[in-house]
């Protein structure tokens, strides 16, 4: 195919999460695991 989209979800969904703060501090963000989605 000329264009293959790799990720089916994207960052738009992340704005819907409420920033719960339960994730680890990075210590540095992309490799952080979200407690709600992992």
């Amino acid at each position: 195919k000329r264009i293959t989209t790799i990720n089916t979800k994207n960052m738009k969904e992340s704005i819907l999460k409420d920033g719960c703060g339960e994730c680890q501090t990075s210590c540095c963000i992309a490799n952080q695991k979200c407690e709600k989605t992992k």
């Binding site: 989209t5 790799i6 990720n7 490799n31 979200c34």
Partner: protein, 485 residues
């Protein structure tokens, strides 16, 4: 904003605002590039439209069609129109040429009331190694040698629980210096932490960062039972590791620590190990002396380790160990070689993880996290052996960054607010960077030590970060395309 690049045989297009990643053929790659050029041209001319994508006019499309047909003689106008249609559809789905999703949410930019959720406990400002490149000045952070008392360690946990609000997960890292030089206090702190967990309904994730010199079976078993993660300092090949990581008697430490690390990891990940205690990291530092650091990562894998991290040294540019602009082409090449090697290992059924290539395109951090970064100075503090609070371990010893103490709490309100406002929108240099939502503006300590301001930008680190992200995204593309075959 679009970032497109070619790596390892893939044409990769990242839609920055949505985080969507596309793998495209040469024709689509060139068309997207020409669309971007047309948008840039119209923007410079002062044209405006409802959205960026609408800046591309019918005349632009005709011109792009002509240029593509000139470059690809086998194509027809219908082929090009088909690609335009695909781009239009992806734009409609907000997966390509998408608008800034976060600009309409000003509440994201307001620093929220900070609750403390993580502490770096400096249980020992002393060390049994004498590493010449240590940012902590051989463990004492340019001050007196000291160890934390049990009373201070318990008071630090009291401070954490007291200031944590409704946070359930709390993190405590035992750090130094070398934390194993104050092992009884580490054990007592964990015991006390488990008491607090029950009393206040918290989950405390303890971690340990060690040079390995003091490891024995008793410590290994305790760490594997109680520590959520252990970070083990190893620079790679023996001659590389022993160049800087030397004992007080000026002997190399490689032969002493590697068997201990192997024993710890074998017991941590082998049969009978706790499922929630398998995380560890081999953590190395590379310098101007070993810009071929991929060989050191491969060496770690040869030793049987599979969770790996290798960091560029950050030091004064006049330091002979400091990485230079001339090193960059080789460092870029090394990151590409590392990604290629990891892809092959995965295909052979022997995968390894590399901290900076861990990327979740579908369930990564929330936008608050992406904007605010690591939380230093707001929700994360370093605690000295005397109970003083600093924004993080890299600020310890810089008196102007002392923020209070664990008994009275944070007293440097202005400094706390400064860290709270120090998000990606505070860095003018980040506005046009495609990687800003992956690095969150970078490390405040590196910025301070590199530019004199926590809101500065340590550009050398940015260059390496962008390269690592390109490699990490490419690995995701390679994996997806392999699965699709």
């Amino acid at each position: 904003m679009i970032h497109q690049y070619q790596l390892n045989g893939f044409n990769i297009v990242l839609d920055v605002n949505s985080g969507s990643v596309h793998c495209v053929d040469d024709v689509a790659y060139d068309i997207i590039r020409l669309f971007c050029a047309a948008m840039d041209r119209h923007r410079e001319e002062g044209s405006s439209a409802a959205g960026e994508y609408d800046l591309v006019t019918a005349a632009d499309r005709e011109e792009i069609t002509a240029r593509i047909l000139d470059r690809y003689p086998d194509l027809t106008e219908e082929d090009v129109r088909e690609v335009f249609g695909d781009l239009d559809e992806l734009q409609r789905q907000a997966r390509l040429f998408s608008e800034d999703l976060f600009a309409p949410h000003p509440e994201l930019l307001e620093p929220r009331k900070p609750y403390v959720k993580a502490l770096c406990l400096h249980v020992a400002h002393t060390c049994n190694l004498n590493c010449s490149y240590c940012f902590a000045s051989q463990g004492n952070f340019h001050g007196e040698r000291a160890v934390m008392t049990e009373e201070t360690a318990r008071a630090a946990l009291d401070f954490l629980v007291r200031e944590s609000g409704s946070h359930h997960n709390l993190d405590v890292d035992f750090f130094g210096g070398e934390p194993l030089m104050n092992w009884d206090v580490v054990k007592e702190t964990v015991r006390y932490g488990r008491e607090l967990e029950k009393e206040y309904g918290k989950n405390i994730r303890f971690t340990l960062t060690t040079n390995g010199v003091g490891l024995n079976d008793e410590i290994i078993d305790f760490a594997n039972r109680e520590m959520h993660n252990v970070v083990l300092s190893l620079d790679g090949r023996k001659e590389v590791h022993d160049r800087f990581r030397r004992t007080i008697n000026d002997q190399g430490s490689y032969d002493m620590i590697v068997p201990k690390f192997q024993r710890l990891v074998e017991k941590r990940t082998g049969s009978g190990a706790r499922e929630d205690r398998t995380e560890y990291y081999m953590r190395g530092t590379y310098t101007h002396c070993n810009p071929d650091f991929t060989a050191d990562i491969r060496h770690m894998a040869d030793l049987g380790f599979d969770q790996l991290s290798m960091e560029p040294v950050v030091t004064d540019p006049s330091d002979p160990l400091a990485l230079t602009e001339e090193d960059l082409p080789l460092l870029y090449e090394q990151y590409e070689e590392l990604a290629d090697w990891m892809i092959r290992r995965r295909e052979e059924g022997r995968p390894v993880t590399f901290y900076h290539y861990m990327l979740d395109l579908e369930g990564g951090p929330c936008i608050y996290k992406r904007i605010a970064g690591c939380g230093a100075g707001t929700e994360y503090y370093a605690v000295t052996p005397w109970g003083d609070l600093y924004p993080c371990h890299q600020f310890v010893g810089e008196e102007e960054f002392k923020m209070g103490d664990i008994w009275k709490g944070v007293s440097a309100d202005a400094l706390q607010k400064e860290f709270g406002r120090n998000n990606i929108y505070a860095h003018a240099e980040c506005a046009d960077c495609w990687a800003k939502l992956y690095c969150s503006g970078g490390c405040a300590a590196n910025a301070y030590h590199g530019t004199g301001s926590i809101s500065g930008v340590y550009e050398y680190g940015c260059k390496l970060f962008r390269k690592r992200m390109e490699c990490a995204i490419m690995m995701k593309v390679a994996e997806a395309m392999k699965d699709a075959e």
